[in-house]
Amino acid sequence: MKINLKYFSWIRVKLKRGQDTIDVVEKITFKKLKPYLIEKDVIFEEIFEDNSTKFFLNLIEINDENIPLNEGDEIAFLPPVTGG
């Protein structure tokens, strides 16, 4: 199944892209997605180690990493905001 990833701020700069669409196994959880992404690109290790980054699934903050993902879901990687 396909999952859409969106990157912002320093994460976008570091990865040199604003988004990815990845193909993963059915019902993978966000927790299990993490090592999958790190394996694909070691930069994700730094991203997941940064405690200030928030992750949103379909516009709702992920509080339980065991949440299962579904086809077409969008996960956004959000460093602390700096607008205004």
Binding site: S9, S52, L59, A76, P80, G83, G84
Partner: protein, 152 residues
């Protein structure tokens, strides 16, 4: 009304849109790009504003709703720009109207304080062709915490 736009806006026009005879007080906050910002020992050319629009609209709507529920407002406008902005350009406008100044001023300040820490915008300094992400400031978080006993 909430707008996330790349083009500039006219403050007088925005004022006229919410002006009415029951409002005796209007409060504005206008944020602009400062000329005195220096990053890596170099003066910036401007800023780049990045936004996660779907989430930002949702967050700004919640912030606006909190202000409307807490204070007696007749009008409430939030405009935030995105994209490349030169020094001196407008970034953000918060405009509130009420019968009396206290509600207009306090709600306006609350909205910009909340926006600074809870709306999906990211600012980058532009130096040459390089975008350098600006770090979030702890003072903005501390400032917002001063509202915790005022707004639930």
């Amino acid at each position: 009304m909430i707008k996330i736009i790349s083009e500039s806006f006219n403050i007088e026009s925005e004022f006229e849109k919410i002006a009415n005879s029951t409002s005796g007080a209007y409060s504005f906050f206008l944020g602009t790009v400062r000329s005195d910002i220096i990053a890596d020992q170099r003066r910036i050319n401007g800023v780049f504003l990045e936004c996660y629009e779907d989430l930002a609209y949702q967050q700004l709507s919640q912030i606006r709703l909190k202000a409307i529920e807490r204070w007696k407002l007749n009008g409430c406008v939030i405009i935030h720009r995105v994209g490349n902005l030169a020094v001196g350009e407008k970034i953000v406008l918060v405009l509130t109207s009420s019968s009396h100044r206290d509600d207009a001023i306090k709600s306006c300040e609350f909205i910009i304080d909340n926006l600074k820490i809870d709306a999906a915008f990211w600012k980058f300094n532009i130096i040459g062709s390089e975008q350098i992400p600006i770090q979030a400031k702890e003072k903005d978080r501390k400032k917002f915490l001063t509202w915790k006993d005022v707004v639930n």
